[in-house]
Amino acid sequence: MKRIRKPKLAVWKFASCDGCQLSLLDCEDELLAVAGKIEIANFPEASSKIVKGPYDLSLVEGSITTPHDEIRIHEVRRASKFLVTIGACATAGGIQALRNFKDVKEFISIVYAHPEYISTLNKSTPIADHVKVDFELRGCPINKDQLLEVIRAYLHGSKPNTPAYSVCMECKRCGTVCVMVAHGTPCLGPITHDGCGAICPSYNRGCYGCFGPKETPNTDSLAARFSELGATNQDIVQVLRNFNAWAEPFRRESEAHEKKVRKNKDNSR
């Protein structure tokens, strides 16, 4: 039998909190089981050892926020055969994309004693804005089981089972009582990508949208319902400005409500 070369797995970090890498670290038992089938070539959270590329499977965590990273992501892309972005930072720009709605220079001058040392971009952007991405795994942080599913699918050449439908699907399968309907709590579940197992509603809280927009998200209709439940335009802006604030459907909706906030202010002047 032909000896098959072990595929090399690499993990890359950009602007992020390392939480998604920790999910991978959390998979140690499962990964040990496949140690013979896969070589971990680069994984900064686990080891400083770096094996030379090219890499068969690259997992990219974090968003692009600096001129340096803007260049580095192209190097990673060139060295990777299959590139998967993991987590809200890499797929949507992350919580740090809140800067995208403001003037970043102003922040820098307030926060740092020597703003001249800071080299940063105006916007925090997802990896897919810069290079071709082969698969996006959502979540803040990603779900460990879904990460294993992606690696598994890669190893066996199948499509990963990470449905793009709403959080409500899993919420209802679990038998959780809907917090929107039964308590009047605004919940992003109906426009949010499944993947977490609908944890928040099962603790009587609305979904925070950690997994970003689902397929066909009707943000407009849900936001209108939030208003009916008593949310102000400002509340709606805040609910949508989270880890996935820069994801297109969430961004559009929050900006629409921000406009309304401004308009109301102007009118009351």
Partner: protein
């Protein structure tokens, strides 16, 4: 043998006892997280004693009643399909050792379940799912085993909710078939009892084990007037006259665009529907590829994957998905299974996060029926109506 018996509230616990003695897992209504859900019952204390539910489109609230009724609510977010057709089931597993692959068939235990508090609309829903899973040439063995082991205690509704319309769908409010035992709860001053009726020999046998007495005519009449009053209380109605042709003829009605602008395609309506039966299969494999499992999970016609065939989703728009769901439920179901797929329980209205109401959608489509509209146009200006397509 009298047709109806009286079972005192004080002796109600005996019913649970009799069922448990026979090895039944007793499942019924209980309060959890602000709603009445179906779960295991240890004793009558677990029932929603003194609670009721107030429902509207997209809204459900528990309220205290002025009495200690055990079944003084309507229906909650759960239905019995959760137990007869569970949300996730493993169908089989496979193990690989070397070049050998061994398929392990799933041994589905046939649980003996007793459902306490089954509403008339739910009996109808179960009989509809019976047709789906047991009626055709392919029988679902899992459903069959669960269904055959089930003991059904129906409780007639003493009140209807704001989103109820079972009377329109000829599916209630009185249970008239498909139960082992049927109860009507009667509370009058300090009196609190149930009018009981057996529907099967097993129901009769269990009834005989409980302390009871034959019912007086007046008590039977009292129950009858409760059923009548409930039928008058329906919060919603649907005119089902020619509904199949109505919906078939209105596939291109502009109302579908309107509902699509509101619909979240979140699938809640299909998940809470007691007759929606669609599932998907998911294969899970371990990293090594030595172990695989196939799971069956509730699916919904509101997802993109549901209609995915080679090249893409057939129903890519929310409009096409909502239209598919409602038209299937109220029209093509009749062609497929010989009855409507809707029992008028109102769950899809209450549990829709944005309060979309299919009774309202039907009403609007009927009032602005494309057929009559184009006819009206014809008489108005002598022209034939433009093809809405």
């Amino acid at each position: 043998m009298p047709e109806h018996s009286i079972l005192q509230r004080a002796h109600f616990e005996q019913l649970l006892g009799a069922l448990k003695t026979r090895g039944y897992r007793v499942i019924g209504p209980t309060v959890r997280d602000g709603a009445i859900v179906y779960d295991d019952l240890n004793s009558t204390d677990d029932l929603p004693v003194g609670w009721t539910d107030e429902q509207e489109g997209g809204t459900y609230r528990l309220k205290r009643r002025g009495d200690a009724a055990l079944f003084g609510y309507v229906v909650g977010p759960h239905s019995w399909k959760r137990f007869l057709h569970p949300p996730a089931v493993r169908l089989w597993q496979a193990n690989r050792t070397g070049k050998n692959i061994q398929i392990e068939e799933e041994k589905h235990a046939a649980p003996k379940m007793a459902f306490l508090g089954v509403r008339a609309c739910e009996l109808h829903a179960i009989s509809i799912q019976d047709k789906v899973f047991l009626g055709g040439s392919f029988v679902d063995p899992l459903y069959k085993a669960r269904r055959e082991g089930a003991f059904l205690v129906a409780v007639n509704c003493g009140q209807a909710g704001n989103t109820c319309f079972c009377a329109s769908m000829n599916a209630g409010p009185k249970a008239d078939f498909g139960f082992d035992l049927a109860l009507t709860e009667i509370i009058e001053g300090s009196e609190h009892y149930f009018l009981a009726e057996a529907g099967t020999p097993l129901g009769e046998e269990i009834l005989q084990e409980l302390e009871h007495r034959p019912a007086e005519n007046i008590e039977v009449e009292k129950a009858g007037s409760i059923h009548e009053k409930t039928a008058q209380q329906m919060g919603r109605t649907v005119d089902t006259t020619g509904i199949k042709d109505l919906l078939y003829a209105n596939m291109e009605h502009p109302r579908w665009d309107d509902v699509a602008s509101r619909c979240l395609a979140c699938s809640n309506c299909t998940m809470v529907c007691p007759t929606c039966f669609c599932t998907t299969v998911e294969d899970v494999t371990d990293l090594k590829g030595d172990h695989a499992e196939r799971w069956q999970k509730w699916d919904s016609c509101f997802t993109a994957d549901f209609s995915y065939i080679h090249g893409g989703s057939v129903r890519s728009s929310t409009k096409s998905r909502y239209r598919q769901w409602m038209t299937h439920k109220l029209a093509s179901w009749i062609d497929q299974f010989g009855s409507s797929g809707c029992v008028g329980c109102g769950r899809c209205i209450t549990w829709c996060p944005v309060a979309i109401d299919l009774t309202e959608e039907v009403r609007v489509i009927r009032a602005t029926d494309i057929r009559t509209k184009s006819m009206a146009k014809e008489t108005d200006d002598g022209n034939t109506g433009t093809n809405p397509r």
